[in-house]
């Protein structure tokens, strides 16, 4: 029996691609914003393209913020992608102030690269290498330094550096993958990163299955 992964549909961006990628990997995929569906999931996927403020407003309006927080403290796996990872933090410099999901303590800040490296383009857009923190099953079968597809102007700064599972260089080194318990986040889009992106999603699907079996 394959695990059921609920892709949280809160009106922010490209949900179809990630749902199709998970289906291709054999997961049972449900796209939903209903509390009952989230509660019955074996794992969650929080996608997201767009702005932090609007995303949190949508999650709050749907009543999902406390639901996700509770499921996380119960140890349910979650993978946040791009903005979906940024929402896991406490707050962001993007747009009007609003609290994040606050599952990973820390904040989301804007690239200020003109001071470090002139002519650096923002958004950070395209394929860049991810340096892995060794020892995580999340990276199983994936060579260190694999290129993934990024498209973002803000990045995460978790207070606890042990939660950084991968880093990327763009004018400076920043946290591009986070992991805290069963919660994972990638700043890049694995669903848009070719075969090794799908491999990373497969690792998440397997992790969900392992957790649900326990």
């Amino acid at each position: 029996m394959n695990g059921k992964i609920v892709v949280i549909d809160y009106g922010m961006g490209n949900i179809r691609s990630v749902a199709k990628a998970l289906e291709k990997l054999g997961a049972v995929v449900v796209v939903s914003n209903k509390t009952s569906e989230l509660n019955s999931a074996d794992g969650l996927l929080l996608p997201g393209v767009g702005a932090f403020y609007q995303a949190m407003v949508n999650l709050n309006d749907l009543g999902l913020t406390p639901v996700i927080r509770n499921l996380m403290s119960d140890g349910k796996p979650l993978l946040g992608i791009c903005l979906g990872m940024q929402l896991l933090l406490s707050s962001s410099e993007e747009g009007d102030p609003i609290g994040g999901l606050d599952i990973i303590k820390g904040k989301v800040v804007k690239f200020e690269l003109s001071k470090i490296m002139p002519n650096t383009k923002i958004p950070h857009m395209g394929w860049n290498a991810v340096k892995q923190k060794p020892g995580s099953k999340f990276w199983q079968g994936i060579p260190d330094g694999t290129f993934y597809y990024f498209a973002h102007s803000f990045y995460t700064k978790p207070d606890d550096k042990t939660m950084v599972a991968g880093t990327t260089e763009y004018g400076m080194e920043y946290a591009s993958v986070l992991n805290y318990g069963n919660v994972y986040g990638t700043q890049f889009h694995p669903e848009k990163s070719g075969p090794l992106g799908l491999r990373l999603l497969q690792n998440y699907v397997e992790l969900v299955e392992n957790v649900s079996r326990k």
Binding site: G13, N14, R16, S17, K20, A21, K24, V49, G50, A51, L83, S114, N119, T120, K121, I122, P123, H124, M125, G126, W127, N128, A129, F147, Y149, A151, H152, S153, E169, Y170, H189, E191, K192, S193, G194, P195, G197, L198
Partner: protein, 255 residues
């Protein structure tokens, strides 16, 4: 380090690719989905669909094409051609496109850039600029053309590029009308000028005939990505050959 991107572009009319593709061993060489999947397997970093259909019926077909592509192709997809409202953007992005490219509609209604950017994020909004060279007082200047290049405007390309960045565009797809189709190389002066002026990525387009042309656009033209159609479609070079060539010349590309 951020890799330079190699982007094949497909012209799509009524849901079919109009230029010949005969080297990917596809079952259906006219199906954009098959071709995009072939390019993805070959190591392309993104794919662009340019819808050259003029009819409403054709547009609906394009949404179906994007829908099917999202089920099979797991690299970024940009769709351009005929997108003139936020609703058009929504339809394409919901079908599974990652970015939309806007040209004429952005010139006629610059506010559209901001509205799209506010709603979907700057990284979704690519502004396509068709640039034509004019020599004024012995100096090169470039003017923006619209309606598939047929209509000149008063807009200076450099000023327009700066403006679209301010309005919320996340990327510029810059086509030299003078070089397009010549296979004599990209307009390096234009590309470098735009790339130096803006702080968003610039995709160079128009004129690719050899691998050295791609190298020049990325290094001398300072482009972040190169778009090419015929050199890939007719099998003159594969994406892999292109990347091997660039890697040998110390350009960072995705393996």
């Amino acid at each position: 380090m951020l890799a330079k991107r190699i982007i094949p572009c497909l012209d799509v009319k009524n849901g079919r690719v109009v230029k010949g593709i005969n080297f990917l061993n596809l079952r259906d060489a006219g199906d954009p989905v098959e071709i995009a999947a072939g390019y993805s397997d070959a190591g392309a970093d993104e794919v662009v669909f340019l819808d050259i259909t003029a009819t409403l019926e054709g547009r609906k077909t394009m949404i179906d094409v994007v829908n099917r592509t999202a089920e099979k192709v797991f690299i970024p997809l940009t769709v351009g051609g005929g997108i003139s409202t936020v609703e058009d953007m929504t339809a394409m992005l919901h079908a599974g496109a990652d970015k939309v490219s806007i040209n004429t509609a952005a010139v006629k209604n610059p506010e559209l850039i901001t509205r799209g950017s506010d709603k979907f994020g700057a990284q979704c909004i690519v502004i396509a600029i068709d640039a034509k060279r004019y020599v004024v007082n012995g100096k090169n200047t470039w003017r923006v053309h619209i309606n598939a290049g047929k209509t000149p405007t008063e807009l200076d390309v450099i000023e327009w590029a700066q403006r679209v960045e301010k309005l919320g565009s996340g990327e510029i797809l810059l086509t030299s009308m003078d070089c397009d189709g010549t296979k004599d190389g990209y307009d390096l002066e234009l590309t470098a000028k735009v790339s130096d002026t803006v702080n968003i990525p610039v995709i160079a387009s128009g004129g690719a005939g050899t691998l050295e042309h791609l190298y020049d656009a990325l290094v001398k033209g300072k482009a972040d990505a190169v778009l090419a159609a015929s050199i890939f479609h007719y099998g003159e070079f594969t994406v892999k050959q292109t990347k091997d060539y660039l890697r040998d010349k110390k350009v960072v590309v995705r393996t």
